[in-house]
């Protein structure tokens, strides 16, 4: 079939019938009797917990499964009438674009222009056609200024856009995206979702988007497909999905839906606008003003991390750049601090400087003992037995702090993602504790990438336990540990609202806001929780607070 015929055809963009799939040597099926159809120009959100089969379904739709990964497959997958099980990913590339989670592995050229041009060149397009297509897709994605840049000088967000441009440049009928916003700050994440919606509406591209942060994209979707242990658990409209998740899997619910559910309001809203309209309709569009709940000022204790006019300069590929520019900050024992800001604002650099990986060019940084967990916990795991990573009593003490003492003989590769993260943290802690006492500061850099809500809740409990929140520490541990200051660099606003009591917002290497979590995360648009955006009440950021506000219990 010619490309033109494929484009004009009214055939489904994706048609999956009775698909079963197992990865080679996998103990269980990754996909179980999956059937679904995506119409041309439809925007479908693929929801589900970690390891529920979302990524595998996307890979089956672009031909990587089974052509690239192997394994056993049965059923039928058709992309724009092409048989995906017979055609390879290269042949399907004319009809489908795919964007995986990690943008670093999705670039194969050295410059942005060459990367975007590559699929057209592989197809044999003439140079003039290629030049025009590259220009147009660059304009659509607002990246013409990047065309001459080397790919290894781009930020994660820029790289993600370039990979998306390369996936879109052939004008596919279907675009598949696997958690494209997981490495993006809230601003870039929102921009990407609305850009997809615009491309979907203006170019008629069907979109199948797998995401964990549903609140970010539910309002943009026409339909939601929820995966449960490899099978389709739900397939329907976003509003119906919220009702289904409320009944079946609360971890897939959005904060606004939880707010409405707690407040006893219906229907559950698919987005901020929807929620506001419902609130206006029920006559509670203007809940009473609630004063910000301020956390007690812990100035009685000495700071365990103090930065004074801290400047840090780093080599960013092409030139030296001041990444931190005169940071003043003091963090005290037991504080739970969220470091937030856009990509490149200096969050990771601040943590890494505190841990001694970078040096300040000027200013002062005093920090007690610090254990830092970087963005990839797997980097800490180099042996094949947990006990070999953490030998001796001190190792066991560190394992006890993260609740992994039972796994001494396990192979780190057999642990779940959350357990591996805990193990990596124990490796960073080991020997930095005085007996059973925690180090003064525990730093976590973007710990929630690719995590579903259930795993985030576990992490929140761990953080609160480390910071000495007695409700989250078992009694034995409470006796044994002292409160550490926990500083977490994160893009995830909802996660920050769950664990933090203080938020430090960085912008271009400068502290632009520093205050109680409820105040900072309710006072803006991008760095605000969904509940804060719905209610627009100072100090109200979580569904529980919002429901209480709606019931008039606060204030």
């Amino acid at each position: 079939m010619s490309e033109l015929a494929i484009r004009r055809g009214a055939a489904p963009a994706l048609e999956v019938r009775g698909l079963d799939y197992s990865y080679p040597r996998a103990p269980r099926q990754a996909l179980v009797d999956v059937s679904l159809e995506i119409a041309p120009g439809e925007f479908v959100l693929l929801a589900g917990r970690s390891a529920s089969g979302k990524s595998t379904l996307l890979k089956a739709a672009c031909g990587l499964v089974p052509h690239f990964h192997g394994g056993e497959i049965e059923g039928e997958v058709r992309v724009a009438e092409l048989d995906a099980l017979a055609a390879g990913p290269g042949e399907l590339a004319v009809a489908v674009g795919y964007l995986a989670q990690d943008p670093e592995t999705q670039v194969v050229s050295t410059t942005v222009a060459a990367e975007i041009e590559l699929p057209l060149e592989m197809r044999g397009d003439a140079p003039a056609d290629r030049a025009r297509a590259v220009e147009e897709v660059a304009l659509a994605l607002a990246i013409p200024h990047l065309l001459d840049r080397a790919v290894d000088t781009l930020s994660g967000g820029e790289l993600q856009r370039v990979a998306l441009a390369a996936a879109l440049v052939t004008r596919p009928r279907l675009i598949l995206l696997d958690e494209p916003t997981s490495q993006l700050d809230p601003v870039a994440g929102d921009e990407l979702i609305w850009l997809l919606r615009r491309l979907n509406e203006e170019w008629g591209v069907a979109v199948l988007l797998a995401e964990h942060r549903l609140e970010r994209c539910l309002a943009a979707a026409d339909r939601v497909v929820a995966m449960e242990e490899g099978a389709v658990g739900f397939d329907g409209a976003p509003a119906e999905f919220l009702a289904w998740s409320h009944e079946n899997d609360a971890a897939l619910s959005t904060p606004a839906a939880r707010l409405f559910s707690l407040a006893g309001l219906t229907p559950l809203p698919v987005g901020v606008r929807d929620a506001r309209q419902t609130l206006r309709g029920t006559g509670i569009g203007h809940p009473p003003h609630i004063a910000s709940r301020r956390v007690p000022d812990p100035r009685s204790s000495e700071p365990v991390l103090r930065a004074k006019n801290l400047w840090v300069e780093l080599d960013r590929g092409e030139e030296l750049r001041d990444v931190l520019r005169g940071i003043d900050l003091a963090v005290r024992p037991g504080e739970r601090v969220a470091l937030m800001g856009r990509n490149g604002a200096g969050k990771s650099t601040l943590l890494r400087t505190a841990a001694g990986l970078h040096e300040a060019v000027t200013g002062r940084l005093d920090v007690g003992s610090i254990a830092l967990l970087t963005q990839n916990p797997g980097d800490y795991l180099v042996r094949e037995r947990v006990g070999d990573e953490l030998p001796g009593d001190e190792g066991l003490a560190a394992l006890r702090v993260v609740g992994l003492e039972h796994a001494v003989d396990a192979d780190p590769r057999d642990l779940s993602g959350g357990e591996r993260q805990r193990l990596a943290l124990a490796i960073a802690l080991a020997g930095r504790m005085e007996g059973e006492l925690l180090p003064a500061v525990v730093g976590l850099d973007e710990p929630t990438r690719g995590m579903d809500r259930a795993r985030k809740d576990d992490l929140v409990a761990l953080i609160r336990g480390l910071a000495g929140d007695v409700a989250f520490v078992d009694k034995e541990a409470t006796k044994a540990t002292r409160a550490a200051a926990v500083v977490v660099a994160t893009h995830d606003v909802e996660f920050a609202s769950a664990f933090a009591e203080r938020v430090v917002l960085l912008g271009e290497g400068v502290v632009i806001a520093d205050g109680p979590m409820e105040e900072i995360l309710s006072g803006g648009w991008y760095f605000a929780t969904e509940v804060a955006r719905v209610l627009d009440l100072p100090g109200v950021v979580t569904p529980e607070q919002g429901a209480a506000a709606l019931r008039g219990e606060l204030g």
Binding site: G90, A93, V108, S109, T110, T153, L357, T374, Y380
Partner: protein, 301 residues
Amino acid sequence: MRSPFAYKPRRGPLQDASPGAAVAYLGAIVVVAFLYLNPLVLLAAGTAASLAGILAGARGAVRAALRMGLSLALLVAFVNALVTSRGETVIARLGDWPLFGRVDVTLEAIVAGVSYGLLAAATIVACAVYSACVDPDRVLRALRPFAGRSALTATLVSRLVPVAAADAARLRDASALRGPAAAPVGKAPLARRLLAGSLDRAVDVAATLELRGYSLGAPRARNRRSRSRYDRRFYAAAAAVLLTAIAGKLLGADDFQAYPTVAIGFGPATLAVATVVTLSGLAPLRRPMKRRALHAEVARV
């Protein structure tokens, strides 16, 4: 931080040359290193590769490759001195060692080790200059019509250099952040982890290439920069180096023996080969501005 071996777009004859010409030129230097064991010629090959890199603006790559290559050369010389007892000039008698047995360090074993080490060092420098100066995108496009799988491998390698460098930097950071009571990270587990990570990344990069239609048997697209005015220069340099090396080999320029006593030939043929090979390192030299300006002026008049 960016790897010194990563390709960086710069203006210069070596960067502007087509991949074929650049590979022929740097390949000729490597071929000489493999053809000869005479330390003088090997030194000339290493010098030529270093000179080419410096003139092409890849000082960082040359510096890093020299550090790596010379360390390797020293290691090879050291190990060879310990494991080889051949040679008549005994410098030190170290007695009986477990595993090694009787260890006599001879001058000949050291010189032979240095020779092998120089071969490795010259090859590393030439590869580093290739990696830093030859655009992998152009290599990818140039190779695809002839050898799709080779081009795929070349692309994987070219992408894996910066990706593996980034992985290595991350692993180094993680090992520095381990608590003092955690088991120290030895070089072997770290290397194993880096290798496993690199292979995972290679699979992902290969998947991306598949998705870009790389395996399609599409007609070769016309390349906008398939040839360069510098191509002839590099092909000529490669031909001169290879012909001289072969002729020199036939004329006995590789007059070197390590055992039983060291004999290094410094005859006219050897000196001629070494000189030609060293001078070939000047091929990436730009023409001086003055002369170019003069030519332009003459042309204008």
